[in-house]
């Protein structure tokens, strides 16, 4: 119990101390800041692993008058996200030792990283809807600082534009989400996510559910981001420092889809059912939109950002299908995108630092010939992007297409068949842009101007992510086993009849 509390306390205390420490009369040395942050993130990772294995629960009253509680717990859905967040927390801190962006003091940078990690861990740990909102909001300001202060140093205007856009856009989403949460809590009579999920919208009319779900979905869609509210993502990714991009893609976006599962799919199944065609439609438009934009995009970081829009489309499509297969697909694809986008942003961010820009139209030395390790990491990252089997992305996307073809009984089958077909087209676009990048950057005959290959901590961080991409791709059972029981309770509670015709007891498990 106390260790679960410490999981949040360690990054909170260390993060705050680092940010404040640099404002003290005697500022901490960069190495000290680094070590403090590293120790804090490693301890947090250890505690998270313990939480995931032991599954402790903290449940104490906070504001009894309105029934608000400190309620934290770990289940199969949050466990992989927690591990991903904590592991990437260590990775970004370790990576920053030799790649510290300028623009502010080291303490502020490390402190903000830890505070973002705190907010993400809190979001995934909490079992209280209001507390969820608070944790969700915690990440905003530190991330704003990371983008606005430590982002691309070439243009202050671009930094403030990207950071401001990120902040205001997501605050708008959060506000809508807060309204939705309050409406949900008011209608259901509890803020406990477990009880909300168990009730499955009992006692709420379909219309009420649809209205509340719509508000929540619009709010959360901004975070995911879902087409057409995605335009904050490309500038934020392009401008943010490497560590910021990694956390943004691999952790922050996941909070949006996690929120959809916890706040919409579980407690408002009928509402989701009404909105599913629109949600699925937006998701597949996003898949095409992101893929097409990537085909002509010039900036490599922006390209990876647009590919994120496409990949998150698969996640949302899986959720919209309303089956347990779809939910499994969504949760798997969520983690898959986290790992792959982290890998790509580490590699691409490193390339941008070395090249001085991420413009694809500038002829550069072929990575295959001059920096083979970077090249291999880039090849595996983009192979995963195009959904190559044997790598992690494949399972989530294939299952998502499958789920879209066989949606829950209350979904319009024709529309979802069309969604499946369009989503598959997205994989061809992904192949087009992924190989386009490799053809421009990885292959070629130029040997000048060569850039340094991956080395030191950067090399190890990338190696671990590559290993994760391959391992989860070859052994997907590890992750699917974790989420399966929870998924069964969510969809089973929601749709007693959500068993695909001809299957054998999948839904009744």
């Amino acid at each position: 119990m106390i260790l679960l509390a410490l999981t949040l306390a360690v990054p909170a205390v260390a993060g705050t101390a680092l940010v404040l420490g640099d404002r003290a009369p005697v500022a901490a040395r960069p190495l000290t800041s680094h070590l403090v942050a590293l120790v804090a993130s490693v301890v947090t990772l250890g505690l998270t692993v313990w939480d995931v294995v032991q599954r402790p629960v903290v449940d104490a009253p906070w504001v009894p008058a309105i029934g608000l509680r400190w309620h934290f717990a770990v289940d199969g859905i949050s466990a992989p996200l927690l591990l991903l967040t904590a592991a990437l927390g260590v990775a970004v801190v370790a990576h920053a030792r030799h790649h510290l962006p300028s623009g502010g003091t080291p303490g502020t940078f490390y402190g903000c990283l830890l505070l973002v990690e705190l907010g993400a861990l809190g979001t995934f740990l909490t079992r209280d809807a209001v507390l969820f909102f608070i944790a969700f909001e915690t990440v905003l300001i530190p991330m704003w600082v990371l983008i606005n202060r430590f982002g691309d140093q070439r243009s202050a205007t671009a930094r403030s534009d990207a950071a401001g856009r990120f902040l205001l856009y997501t605050v708008l989403g959060s506000t809508l989400m807060l309204i939705g949460i309050l409406a949900l809590v008011n209608a259901a009579g509890t803020a406990d996510l477990d009880r909300l999920a168990a009730s499955g919208g009992a006692g709420m009319s379909s219309t009420t559910q649809a209205v509340v779900a719509a508000i929540l979905l619009v709010g959360l869609a901004i975070k995911v981001p879902l087409w057409p509210v995605h335009t904050w993502l490309p500038p934020a990714h392009t401008i943010a420092p490497t560590a910021g991009s990694v956390l943004l893609a691999a952790v922050l976006l996941k909070m949006g889809t996690y929120g959809i599962v916890r706040l919409v799919a579980a407690p408002l199944p009928d509402g989701l059912g009404v909105l599913a065609p629109y949600l699925g439609g937006a998701a597949v438009i996003g898949i095409l939109w992101g893929g097409l934009a990537c085909l002509v995009e010039r900036d490599l970081k922006r390209l990876v950002a647009y590919s994120s829009v496409a990949h998150m489309g698969f996640v949302v499509l899986g959720i919209a299908s309303g089956t347990d297969t779809g939910l499994q697909a969504a949760l798997f694809a969520n983690i898959a995108h986290g790992v792959v986008s982290a890998l790509l942003f580490f590699v691409v961010g490193g390339l941008k630092e070395r090249w001085g820009s991420a413009d694809l139209e500038i002829a550069r030395a072929a990575l295959r010939e001059t920096a083979p390790r970077t090249g291999l990491a880039l090849v595996i990252g983009f192979a995963a992007t195009l959904g190559l089997p044997g790598l992690v992305t494949f399972w989530g996307e294939w299952l998502s297409v499958y789920a879209a073809w066989s949606p829950a009984p209350d979904r319009p089958v024709g529309a979802f068949h069309a969604f499946a077909a369009v989503a598959v087209v997205g994989t061809a676009l992904a192949a087009g842009y992924a190989l386009r990048v490799l053809r421009l950057v990885w292959a070629g005959d130029r040997l000048e101007p060569a850039v340094a290959d991956l080395a030191g901590v950067e090399r190890w961080v990338v190696a671990v992510l590559v290993a994760a991409v391959v391992a989860l791709g070859v052994w997907p059972k590890a992750l699917l086993d974790s989420t399966a029981p929870e998924v069964a309770t969510i969809t089973h509670g929601a749709h007693p009849s959500t068993v695909v015709v001809g299957s054998e007891g999948g839904g009744a498990r």
Binding site: P389, L435, R436, G506
Partner: protein, 665 residues
């Protein structure tokens, strides 16, 4: 007291290896180990690659023994079953007669390719990557062969596409290789879009991805709605198969893929990706025969492709590209067999041609690769006189071309005549499209004989050096008549410099020579495969049809032979004009059609998307930011000043009018 940390039981696959598992695992492991330890170390990479393939061959032989002894089709597990809700996803492998035979063929060709490329790519800096890529390619193909699960089928299928990208673009310093690799992957991926949907339809209907269960579910579907769904699924699958097998309209990626190293071509064409579609359809044959329209479509596509690509093969300036087009044509023959063979006969006719083609096409590619090392190119002009100059190549290339033509008793004759017989049976059984296939076959057979003869005339023609010497003789001769006689009757071979030739021939090392020899002997005696218990084929082939096809072959071959010697380098195509020849080399402008019909519209759409993203969707965001800023500035400006007295009066007036209005109403 409980310990602080109790680790949960680590999930781990049960380790007792079945041959089906080892067949797939061995090359996969060779790939990983080769990437890890083989970097920059050619010998290590070569050893691992050959060893991995050897183990796979051993395991496939073991599988043969097992299948023959206990006839078990027990599914063996891999990384499944996956818990994905309502769908049963067992991810199992199968061992049966079909997989046993094809696995051996694939492993033999794989081993030959690995053995040959240790020599062929001896100077290539990317050799370790190539060897690992070939290992992965074999693992993917063997996964397709062994799979008992639709998802594993897709895994192997897509991995082969990826490996083809790696191998075709191996020499990524050349722009042509980069483009060819990109084109190959994209064209096959586009074909696979529908393939994925087809697999999904099959799996959704059966509620499982296990192939035996899927086949059982769909093979007995009487309802019309189910029938339509099945046809949709099979047509979708055919799209992917046409993509990977380079059938019309996806055919044009394959000749371009000749930019890759020749052993890679041997692998891709003979035993893996291009031929894999035949195997997939053979696996799903019981459901394929349930759908008449899908089979008719297959017959039409295969018939058109068979003839069209045989014509294209004849016109190629580059003999390696000629072999590529011949692959397209031969794969069409396999697919045609599956399209027309009567359902009770089973898919084995197509599989026999698969195995036969694997042997002779691998032999031809390795032979041409070997010759190209010696003469420095693969165009007809470069290869002209090759087998006269390097006599060691005479028998492998000769045997390969005879088998490709379908001359008895080589393996190609047996398999091709079986397909002719199958279409005859198809006509008797009333299969739609069987007539079409028979006509296409009787067009393709002489065309094949024609391009094989053309190739042989080029290969066996006197080289430029020989002709130079002859001219020298004629110039120095005092008696021109004698020279004419010499030119007419003297067939002595030209030996430029015995020592030099010995060096050139000695360059090939034992593994490479062994690879070619083994394939050569298999091509000679491979027809015996139909006597083994692995295949069930119908022997009753109409003798008149066989006689007809042999006559057509002979006629076409002699026609070409008559045209050849009058040309510059023994190339019968010299008689055609330059425009015709370049049209053939460009595959009748298919590449331009791809660009105009797919690539450019998609890119235009992409530019439109970017513009809309920036000018429409994001405009609202920017607009709201600007509006807020303006409102803020206005508010700030209004706040700074004191309200003027006039404004107060205006306000009072408005209120007064409003009050009056309320009062009057």
């Amino acid at each position: 007291m409980t310990p602080l940390l109790v680790l949960p039981p680590v999930p781990w696959p049960e380790i007792h290896l079945a041959p089906a598992q080892l067949v797939v695992l061995a090359p996969a492991a060779a790939c990983l180990l080769g990437l890890w330890w083989g970097r920059g170390q050619r010998r290590v990479a070569a050893t691992l690659a050959v060893l991995g393939t050897l183990v796979a061959l051993g395991a496939s032989a073991w599988q043969v023994v097992q299948v023959l002894t206990d006839h078990a089709e027990t599914p063996t597990g891999t990384v499944g079953p996956l818990p994905v809700g309502g769908l049963d996803l067992p991810l199992t492998l199968l061992s049966d007669h079909l997989s046993a035979l094809v696995a051996v063929a694939v492993a033999v060709v794989g081993l030959a390719v690995q053995g040959f490329s240790t020599w062929y790519l001896a100077e290539d800096p990317h050799y370790p990557q190539f060897a690992a890529g070939v290992s992965l390619f074999l693992a993917a193909m063997l996964l397709v062969v062994q799979t008992g699960d639709l998802v594993l089928l897709l895994v192997g299928w897509e991995l082969m596409g990826w490996c083809s990208w790696l191998l075709i673009g191996l020499d990524s310093r050349r722009a042509a290789a980069r483009r060819a690799a990109y084109k190959a992957f994209l064209v096959t991926r586009i074909g696979d879009l529908a393939f994925v949907i087809g697999l999904v339809i099959l799996a959704v209907g059966a509620g499982t991805t296990s192939i035996p269960d899927v086949v059982r579910h769909w093979a007995h579907q009487p309802g019309t709605q189910q029938g339509a769904l099945l046809t949709a699924a099979m047509v979708c699958l055919l799209s992917g198969i046409a993509g990977k097998s380079a059938q019309f309209p996806f055919q044009d990626w394959l000749p371009d893929a000749m930019e890759g190293p020749t052993p890679a071509s041997a692998l891709i064409h003979a035993a893996t990706m291009v031929a894999a579609g035949t195997y997939v359809l053979a696996r799903l044959f019981p459901i394929l025969v349930q759908s008449g329209p899908a089979r008719l479509l297959l017959a039409v596509v295969a018939g058109v492709t068979m003839v069209g690509s045989a014509v294209l093969a004849f016109g190629q300036t580059d003999l390696k590209r000629m072999l590529a087009w011949s692959t397209v044509s031969q794969v069409a023959i396999m697919l045609a067999a599956l399209a027309v063979v009567p359902a009770p006969m089973g898919p084995d006719t197509g599989i026999v041609h698969f195995v036969s083609h694997a042997m002779f096409k691998a032999l031809l590619f390795l032979g041409v690769g070997w010759l190209s090392v010696l003469v420095g190119g693969t165009t007809a002009a470069a290869l002209s006189g090759g087998v006269r100059h390097f006599r060691e190549l005479r028998s492998p290339l000769g045997v390969g071309l005879l088998a490709l033509t379908g001359v008895p008793p080589f393996v190609g004759f047996v398999s091709k005549e079986l397909v002719v017989g199958a279409s005859e049976h198809g006509i008797t059984a009333g299969t739609a499209g069987a007539w079409l296939v028979l006509v296409a076959l009787f067009l393709t057979i002489p065309l094949t004989a024609a391009y094989c003869m053309r190739a042989w005339m080029v290969l066996a023609f006197r080289t430029q050096e020989e002709r130079a010497v002859d001219q020298e003789v004629s110039r120095e001769s005092h008696r021109p008549q004698e020279v004419d006689l010499t030119e007419m009757f003297d067939t002595r071979t030209f030996t430029p410099d015995p020592e030099e030739q010995a060096i050139a021939e000695r360059q090939i090392d034992t593994p490479a020579w062994l690879s070619v020899s083994v394939l050569k002997w298999l091509t000679v005696v491979g027809g015996l495969v139909v006597l083994t218990p692995f295949v069930t084929v119908d022997w009753h082939v109409d003798v008149w049809l066989v006689g007809c096809s042999l006559l057509l072959m002979a006629g076409a071959a002699f026609g070409v032979r008559a045209l050849s010697p009058v040309s510059l380098d023994g190339d019968a195509m010299r008689h055609a004009g330059d425009r015709v020849r370049s049209a053939f080399d460009e595959g009748w402008a298919a590449d331009r059609a791809y660009l105009a019909l797919v690539a450019r519209p998609v890119l235009a759409l992409a530019r439109w998307v970017v513009a809309v993203d920036r000018d429409v969707i994001d405009a609202w965001v920017r607009g709201s930011a600007a509006a807020t800023r303006v409102a803020g500035a206005f508010g700030e400006a209004a706040h700074r000043r004191r309200p003027s007295a006039n404004l107060v009066w205006v306000l009072v007036g408005v209120l007064g009018v409003a009050a009056l209005g309320v009062r009057l109403w």
